[in-house]
């Protein structure tokens, strides 16, 4: 690869490989490293000790370090950085790397490696990190000599943050960080790689074709995903959607890219999407897909997908286009400039001929959708109607959280029913507020990602909606929270079961609950969190829910981690739920109804 241009500065510092690595992170503007030390990383740790600009957060498990870096990245848009040692440190990081990879999150993972002369000898704590991580990284580097550290770091950040973002691993053999060998340190100002040049604009001819389709549509729907958030295109997407008055739905990853409380918003689509969103997709004649990838959790059976719809697909990754669903108008490019060009052209065309849009048809279409919503839309008033003495509905807890936090919280979640309830019932009006593992579905993501958000945005209200199953996958991080005073609020929807698994067993396995419950082995969460030095509140009665929620988010407990353990209905299911093998409009709507 071409060497990045070197800065033409005169004063050159002499630094060791370890110091250069940390110095390069400083030069990239990194403020936090989430990590865990070990033999192969000790030179790097010593370099961290000698400086103040980058703060290191000591986690309790490397998986959590990657999720923290991930949460940091999702909340801020800046790449998160994790540091682990070789061998078990590196393998522990894999789940977090895969999680970031599936959701296209910019992340840098630095792994210590045994010294070059030991590589390949099955030496202590040696693993082929580049090999193990290869299928779940955007790219990886093995540092061959200390001298290349600055340019490798520069390239790693460039690759992680441009095009379709993703995690990049830098594997650093111990000898390349040797404190006794010094090098001239110069951080490259720019980077140019002949083999990597992500698209920066959309093809204007394609955009023109797309505009023709948009103008001709009678039953259009905008289908927007996480790429809109990653591509910083939420504002222009909102502008375009409102300009056209088109209904819009978001994927699980896209929630917040369009204001959820806006009347044009149909809610989430897909497996647990709203009735109206899935019906609108199925009956549409045009789908404008932006930064979304027609995931199998969205399309249901691709053969039966939206039979009458023409498809415009905007994505920065050409491999996402026409992978599952053939796009009539593919547009490769970053969402922001593509949508901006599209909007400008639409404005121009409509200024010249305002009748180009069939507004009457659109009006009728929106009314049809409103009808679907009235028929089977989500019930957003379960909290108000909750009956004292009756077991608490998990949906009502999310509604309560929404009200108490005025819809302004950063909400992270784990994986399961609680995740779907959070996605369905917390209305996200701004991007980057909803943080969850959509692609990989990683239980254990919620708490550490919330911690990453809280460190990045100390003044923000950060809530982790979790389940008693998921929280136990990274519960040791309560200790990290104590060390750094991370006042995240954990809302545990405790249904005493791996609820989502149990739901599938109810629906597809004749109610045989094979290993989805714990037989009274759950810990006393209050005593557990108190043991870590935090505040625990238990809620069993619906009347106590709101006061407890208010207390958790009160001024008094502003600086404390509060763990709200809420006993919720163990028999609740998430609906709607797509009927496997059907089209998008085939849904279970309750235990007894189908669409």
């Amino acid at each position: 690869m071409n060497q990045p241009n070197l800065k033409k500065e005169t004063i050159v510092e002499r630094l060791s490989g370890g110091d250069m690595l940390i110095r390069a992170l400083q030069d990239e503007g990194v403020d936090f490293i989430f990590g865990y030390p070990g033999g192969a990383a000790l030179h790097i740790y010593d370099a961290i000790f000698k400086q103040q600009r980058v703060q290191h957060i000591l986690v309790r498990h490397e998986q959590a370090a990657t999720h923290m870096a991930d949460g940091y990245a999702r909340a801020t848009g800046r790449p998160g950085v994790a540091l682990v040692t070789s061998g078990p440190g590196a393998t522990n990081a894999i789940t977090g790397i895969a999680t970031a990879f599936m959701d296209s999150i910019p992340m840098i993972v630095i792994s210590g490696q045994v010294a070059n002369d030991l590589i390949g000898t099955d030496s202590f704590q040696e693993t082929d990190m580049v090999g193990i991580s290869r299928p779940v990284v955007k790219h990886s580097f093995m540092v061959k000599s200390a001298a290349e550290i600055p340019s490798v770091v520069k390239k790693a950040f460039y690759i992680a943050t441009t095009g379709r973002p993703g995690p990049v691993v830098i594997d650093v053999p111990k000898d390349t960080t040797d404190p006794s060998v010094l090098f001239d340190y110069v951080y490259p100002e720019t980077v140019k790689m002949r083999s990597y040049s992500p698209a920066t604009r959309g093809h204007s001819g394609q955009i023109r074709k797309a505009v023709d389709l948009l103008l001709a549509a009678k039953r259009p729907v905008v289908y927007a995903g996480g790429g809109v958030i990653q591509g910083e295109a939420c504002e222009v997407l909102t502008e375009l959607t409102r300009f056209l008055d088109f209904p819009i739905t978001n994927t699980l990853m896209g929630l917040g890219c369009y204001p959820a409380t806006d009347p044009l918003f149909l809610g989430m689509l897909g497996m647990h999407g709203t009735f109206e969103a899935n019906m609108a997709m199925h009956h549409s004649d045009l789908i404008l897909a932006v930064g979304a990838r027609f995931d199998d959790r969205v399309t249901n059976d691709p053969e039966k997908f939206c039979p009458g719809a023409r498809v415009i697909h905007i994505d920065v990754d050409p491999a996402s286009i026409s992978k599952i669903i053939e796009a009539e108008v593919p547009i490769v490019g970053p969402a922001e400039p593509v949508l901006r060009d599209m909007l400008a052209l639409l404005r121009e065309r409509l200024a010249a001929a305002p009748d180009l849009l069939d507004r009457a048809a659109h009006q009728q279409w929106r009314e049809q959708i409103a009808g679907w919503r009235r028929q089977h839309g989500l019930d957003h008033h379960q909290l108000e109607r909750a009956v004292p003495g009756v077991v608490i509905k998990p949906q009502a807890v999310v509604q309560c959280l929404y009200q108490v936090t005025d819809g302004e919280a950063y909400v992270t979640s784990d994986v399961g029913q609680h995740q779907m309830f959070a996605a369905q019932y917390y209305h996200f009006d701004a991007p980057r507020r909803w943080i969850n593992s959509g692609g990989l579905g990683t239980m254990g993501f919620g708490l550490p990602s919330a911690m990453g958000v809280k460190l990045a945005l100390p003044d923000a209200v950060v809530a982790c909606v979790t389940g008693e199953g998921s929280i136990q996958m990274n519960i040791q991080e309560l200790s990290t929270c104590a060390q750094y005073g991370l006042a995240v609020k954990v809302v545990n929807l405790n249904n005493q079961a791996l609820g989502m698994v149990k739901q599938w067993q109810d629906m597809q396995y004749g109610g045989r609950h094979s290993h989805s419950t714990y037989q009274d082995s759950l810990p006393d969460f209050l005593r557990l969190v108190e043991a870590y030095g935090h505040v625990g509140i238990r809620v069993d009665e619906v009347g106590d829910l709101e006061p407890a929620m208010r207390e958790a988010f009160s001024e008094k407990l502003k600086d404390r981690l509060v763990f709200l353990d809420v006993a919720v209905d163990p028999d609740e299911h998430v609906y709607p739920m797509a009927i496997k093998g059907g089209s998008m409009c085939d849904m279970f709507l309750s235990r007894t109804e189908q669409s």
Binding site: P135, H139, S140, I159, R194, S195, A319, K323
Partner: protein
């Protein structure tokens, strides 16, 4: 349908494993694979043959292009092209067989490159079909060992795959 895909990539440690890993990971199959540095030692040229419908091949080329070290990807089978494969075959050659093997080699414009009292080693070059035909002509029973290089190819005419 069989396709010949030609890839120009950085000649760096690990680049090849990313290409091979991609095929394994996405359930694409590789029938043949050849790779070597080009006239510019910082670049490698890789040729692989695979089978798949248009959709699959489109995905393969897109994913290959996404690999950071890959510079160019061309589906040679899309246009007119030249393809060659080299094969070395060790054949039983005793008695009357000796003349028979030699005659077959001549028909295929193959060369006998090593001779012992009981075996010939024959070198055949050409399209993969021609190599298959040679094996059929010799007859499996007389074949002791076969090694094939995998396909290399270039498009016909002035078109080139370069930086």
């Amino acid at each position: 349908m069989r396709r010949i895909i030609s890839v120009l990539l950085e000649n760096e440690a690990g680049a090849l494993s990313r290409v091979v890993g991609l095929f394994a990971q996405r359930n694409y199959n590789i029938e043949t694979l050849t790779v070597a540095p080009t006239e510019d030692p910082t670049l490698s040229r890789l040729t692989l043959t695979t089978v798949g419908d248009d959709r699959k091949i489109e995905q393969i080329t897109k994913h290959l292009n996404k690999l950071i070290e890959v510079i160019k990807v061309v589906d040679l089978s899309e246009g007119e092209h030249v393809e060659r494969e080299l094969m070395l075959v060790k054949v039983k050659a005793v008695g009357a067989q000796r003349a028979e093997v030699k005659r077959t080699a001549d028909i295929f414009r193959a060369q006998v490159v090593d001779v012992t009292g009981s075996a010939y080693t024959v070198q055949v070059t050409g399209s993969s079909d021609k190599l298959d035909a040679f094996i059929r002509a010799i007859g499996e029973l007389s074949i002791l060992e076969v090694v094939r290089s995998g396909v290399s190819g270039l498009s016909r005419g002035e078109k080139v795959v370069s930086l």
